[in-house]
Each structure stands twice: as C-alpha cells, then as structure tokens.
C-alpha cells in the first residue's frame, strides 16, 4: 500500500508531493501579473493572499467575505475578476459541484484527482485512482474518442455523518474540505 503500488492502491499516490508554499504561490501570482503586464494592486494582493491562506474549495462568496475582513473596500466584481485571474494563472481550479455556485480549488500541486462529496455535511474529500483513469482511457478509445479532460464526482455519506455525530454544523465552513 505504498505510493508505488498505484495500480492496486485505491487512494493512489499521496497528494501533497511537490507542493508549493503559500509564499511560493503568491510570488508565482506576482510573476504572472508582470508577465502579462498587469498591475499589482492592494486588492489583488489581498484577495490572492486570502485565497492561498484558505483551505481548499472556497466559493466566491466565502472568499469575498474573508477578504472583506482584511480589506473592507473590495467589491464583489473584483473578487470575481481576481479569481478568474488565478484560474488563468493555473493557481486556482474551478469546480462545479451539485449546488449551483462554483468553488475554486487552491492548486498547490500538480496531481490530478477527483472528488468524493458528503451529501449531509458537504465535506469534500479528494482522491486519485489510476485504475479508474485507465478504464476511462479504454472506454474512450473503444469509442474512438481522444480524452481531453474528465470530471468525476462521487456523492455519498461520510463516516462522521453515518456515525451520528455531526462533525461540523451546516455552516459554510462545513463545506470546506479535508485532505486525504
């Protein structure tokens, strides 16, 4: 069950290798701005910093609220714009789970992964599984398709919710993910 034995390891290789620190991601962001001749502003910096400091899978509204505490003048539109920027820089990944609003994932490593979502408490757990990826390739190949990307979400009930003790309240914080 080491990271080596990926073929039979349902969890896949551990997520977390080759991570970039918050500071590294922040300076990658600044570099990206410079490269594109975009300007550095306090709003952008604050939004990016809050985003990088936050845990995974944050919605725009959540991010907006957190940024407000640091820099109350920031507008909604600017959060949207900056989040789009982060996406374009490869520092954020957009996800659409089954509840309307988009969530942005903090990209701190390069590993592809999918999601397991608790329908009770909203917790999001990430996983990677090479076997599934391989079968997807096979299916696509048989049908003559060349895969560009895929999306897989498993919905269910997490161990905490099943055991009766609700792990966190249904507040927006509850929707944050834990990492595998």
């Amino acid at each position: 069950m080491t990271a080596r034995a990926a073929a039979t390891d349902v969890m896949g290789p551990p997520i977390g290798v080759n991570q970039r620190t918050q500071a590294q991601r922040f300076s990658a962001f600044k570099d990206a701005l410079r490269e594109r001749s975009l300007k550095s502003t306090s709003q952008r910096d604050d939004i990016a910093r809050v985003f990088f400091a936050n845990k995974r899978h944050i919605s725009v509204e959540e991010l907006y609220r957190e940024v407000k505490q640091v820099n109350p003048g920031v507008g909604y539109a600017t959060v949207y714009r900056t989040v789009r920027l982060l996406r374009e820089c490869g520092l954020a990944a957009e996800r659409h789970f089954h509840d309307g609003e988009a969530r942005f994932e903090n990209v701190e490593h390069e590993h592809h992964h999918d999601h397991l979502i608790c329908e009770r408490c909203g917790r999001i757990v990430e996983f990677a599984n090479e076997g599934i990826e391989r079968l997807q390739e096979q299916v696509a190949h048989k049908l003559g398709f060349v895969i560009t990307r895929h999306k897989m979400e498993i919905y269910g009930v997490c161990p905490e919710c099943r055991s009766g003790r609700v792990p966190r309240t249904a507040s927006r914080r509850a929707r944050d993910s834990s990492q595998t």
Copy 2:
C-alpha cells in the same frame, strides 16, 4: 465481448434491453398523473409526447421550441413545470454538462450509464463500465463513505471530428446524442 463479460467489456452491457416504447412511456406518464391526482391537460400531453418522441438529451429551450410547433400557445414556464414532473416520475433525468443549461435525458431503460462528450461538435455518447463502478465503490469504502450516486463525464474529441469531416453543424441539433 458479450453482455456477460462485463468485467472486461469496457462498454458494459448493451444499452437498450428492457426498453419502453414511446407509447408505454406516455401511458406511464398518464398513470403518474392520476396517481398524484394531477390533471391531464393538452399542454402536458403535448410536451410529454414531444419529449418522448425526441432523441436523448434535450434542453428546455429546445423542447420549448419543438412544442411550440405542435401547440403554439404553450408557455416557457409550463415546459419547465412539465419537465420537472417528468423528472419526478422517473421518465426524465436531469444532466448538467459543461455549458450552463440543463439537459433532460429520455429515460427508456433502467441501466445506469455515464457520458462521453465531444468538445468540438457536442455529441454525447453513453457508456457503462462495471470496472469503473467497482473501483468507485472501493475508493469510497476505503474513505468510509457510502455512495448514494455519482457523476462521471469524459470530455474529448469524437472520431468524426478528429477525422476532419465535421459530422454535423454546430447547430443545436448537433448537441443531440447518438446511442452506443
């Protein structure tokens, strides 16, 4: 490569066994109305008939336009309401692919399946794969989750688009699916 050899058959069992005819689905719809003490109206009948006659994966707007040709008085809201009804009766399945609007799938059989979507022409192909399902179960189990449902979409380029000859124009008809 028979329907039996599901474990190694990437396509899974053929979709199409135990199908219901259009007429059967229509009368199932009427039955469902009666069961719920809902009333039969010409609008509902027309919308349902058009929906059942149409091929798989139609959007509300497409359905609205087709219904208009049969019964020009029907309003947008009624199409939404009826489609919701069909969903509740298990005769339509709602899908959200990566283009904003929801599509409704004509449920004519009971087999679970996933989707392969061409990013060029929008074609949607269905497939089923037991191996993937099994691995999903394993992953969820390892993480202590009990699965309630899942969603898997593979995006890529279909054989026709890759071969250069565009199979259909980019019209809304192009988004209709072919069956495997």
